[in-house]
């Protein structure tokens, strides 16, 4: 297993946090308006989507504990992508067959991917409905970025915590995995909510004009994750010279 030194740990937590924060900007969060099918996106808030796809990504990443790092990151990405894709698919089924509206975006005239016209299918007085192709693709990219970010934080923390040089000799692998898991989950949530404040609650995906705010969100996530990364050093007695 790879030995993680404390500086790699801080770097990994920071980069992981930025990937999560960036990934959230891609996810079509519709919020309360989408819940009544008057806006494009999944009808819930960022925190719920982050909980669903983030936790799934962390569980799939943790399932490959001890494997090569790229496998852990890929597994996290696949877990998150699967969860967000299933959420969007079932959401679309409800919007199309339950509510009876066409998945359509109100932010662009033609879908940038399929080139299908959008404008005339938008019900007057609403901001689109469901999840058109571009939102679905964007959400999948967001899930992948979030899963890689969460997996990166987990991999680095587990590597540092399970390393006898830095950590308690009596710490079990289970304990190291749980501490790393809950810490990674917390970093995931902090960055997901910062990103959702940046987009003002709702966004359609990378074609949405609000997506241009992404640099600000990334800087905010970078600083917050850096502080969390420095805090994570308190978990490494060997590094700080305790016990």
């Amino acid at each position: 297993m790879m030995v993680i030194d404390p500086y790699t740990l801080i770097a990994a937590v920071t980069v992981g946090g930025v990937l999560v924060g960036g990934g959230v900007h891609f996810i079509p969060v519709g919020g309360a308006p989408a819940a009544i099918a008057t806006a494009t996106g999944v009808g819930t808030g960022t925190a719920m989507l982050a909980a669903g796809s983030g936790m799934t990504g962390l569980i799939t990443a943790a399932a490959l504990t001890g494997q090569a790092p790229w496998l852990i990151l890929a597994s996290g990405a696949v877990g998150s992508m699967l969860m967000i894709c299933i959420t969007m698919l079932v959401g679309n089924l409800v919007y199309v067959f339950g509510v009876g509206c066409v998945p359509v975006s109100a932010k662009v005239d033609t879908d940038p991917i399929t080139k299908l016209p959008q404008e005339k299918f938008v019900t007057p007085g609403t901001e689109g409905h469901g999840l058109p192709t571009v939102c679905y693709v964007s959400g999948t990219i967001g899930g992948a970025l979030g899963g890689i970010g969460g997996g990166l934080v987990y991999w680095a923390l587990y590597g540092a915590l399970a390393n006898p040089i830095f950590t308690l000799a009596n710490r079990t692998d289970l304990s190291a995995a749980m501490v790393a898991g809950i810490f990674a989950l917390s970093v995931f949530f902090v960055n997901a909510v910062i990103a959702s404040y940046n987009i003002g609650g709702t966004i359609e995906g990378f074609h949405d004009p609000k997506f241009k705010r992404i640099p600000r969100g990334i800087v905010a996530c970078l600083i917050a994750s850096l502080v969390a990364g420095i805090f994570s050093l308190f978990l490494l007695p060997g590094f700080l010279g305790g016990i």
């Binding site: 501490v179 917390s186 905010a220």
Partner: protein
């Protein structure tokens, strides 16, 4: 989403009094190691409930300006900050060879610092227009950290990170009793619900601080009852924590329902749906 945008409504209990209540919670948590295996966990759990009330009132003040993302998001964020801060703080007290007694206050301070940093970022970089955002997020993160530390101490019977032996009794540390068992993930969601639910459920034009706080007392105590059940294997006081939590929840939820009925114009039982479609 920002139903109540424009700041909190009438304030019957001042923020300073609620802050005092939260700090009383910190003192109660601090008495845990001195009161033995029965009253220690009980007071730690009650301390956590006081912290939940503090958090619920703070979320009422911050979220009433309209966050744009719904009330739960700031609740989840505060608990995430609280877990980063409290685990780093409690572990840090052991790591830096400090007295384990400094763990909770250290965790509390780290959570408040991280909360304040995130709020400053939101205010300056993301240009959020909530006047009390920085103080509110810092207070909320501190309250959330106290609720996590209090419930963790109630489960473990101590707030040492590693296992310790006191008077011949082995206390599992927080790492073994709360984190390895996975209870910390449950505390994450449980405390988030207890802190954000009261305002999320009560917000609206006729929101009333006392009524919201009554609901927060109820959510706090039912969380305490569940924490009692979680500590079956680690604490001798689990039945006492559960019992007192359940009784206090019953009283608080009855008070809340009475208060809701009093403020309502009329309360009617809608009945079940009719057996046949009415013509």
């Amino acid at each position: 989403m920002s139903v109540a945008a424009g700041g909190p409504g009438g304030v019957a209990i001042s923020p300073a009094k609620i802050l005092g209540l939260g700090l009383l919670g910190l003192i109660l948590i601090y008495t845990t190691p001195f009161l033995g295996p029965v009253f220690g966990p009980l007071l730690a759990a009650i301390g956590a409930v006081l912290a939940i009330i503090w958090g619920a009132d703070t979320i009422r003040r911050v979220a009433s300006y309209g966050l744009g993302t719904g009330v739960p998001s700031i609740g989840y964020m505060s608990l995430a900050i609280a877990i980063v801060g409290s685990i780093a703080g409690i572990a840090g007290a052991s790591v830096l060879k400090l007295d384990p007694l400094l763990g909770p206050i250290f965790g509390f301070i780290l959570a408040v610092v991280l909360g304040a940093i995130v709020a400053v970022l939101c205010k300056t970089l993301l240009k959020m227009k909530i006047p009390i955002l920085i103080r509110g997020t810092a207070e909320l993160s501190g309250a959330a950290a106290l609720s996590v530390i209090g419930f963790s101490a109630a489960i473990a019977g101590t707030f040492s990170f590693a296992p310790i032996i006191v008077g011949g009794t082995l206390y599992l540390g927080i790492e073994q009793a709360v984190i390895s068992t996975g209870f910390i993930a449950l505390l994450f969601i449980l405390n988030t619900m207890a802190i954000q639910h009261p305002f999320n459920a009560c917000l609206g034009p006729d929101e009333d601080q006392v009524r919201t706080l009554k609901l927060s007392v109820a959510t706090g105590f039912i969380a305490m009852a569940i924490v009692g059940l979680l500590s079956v294997y680690t604490s001798k006081a689990w039945w006492l924590v559960t019992l007192i939590g359940a009784i206090a929840w019953f009283i608080a939820i009855r008070e809340f329902i009475d208060a809701s009925k009093e403020s309502a114009a009329s309360v009617k039982w809608t009945g079940l749906w009719p057996k046949h479609e009415e013509e």
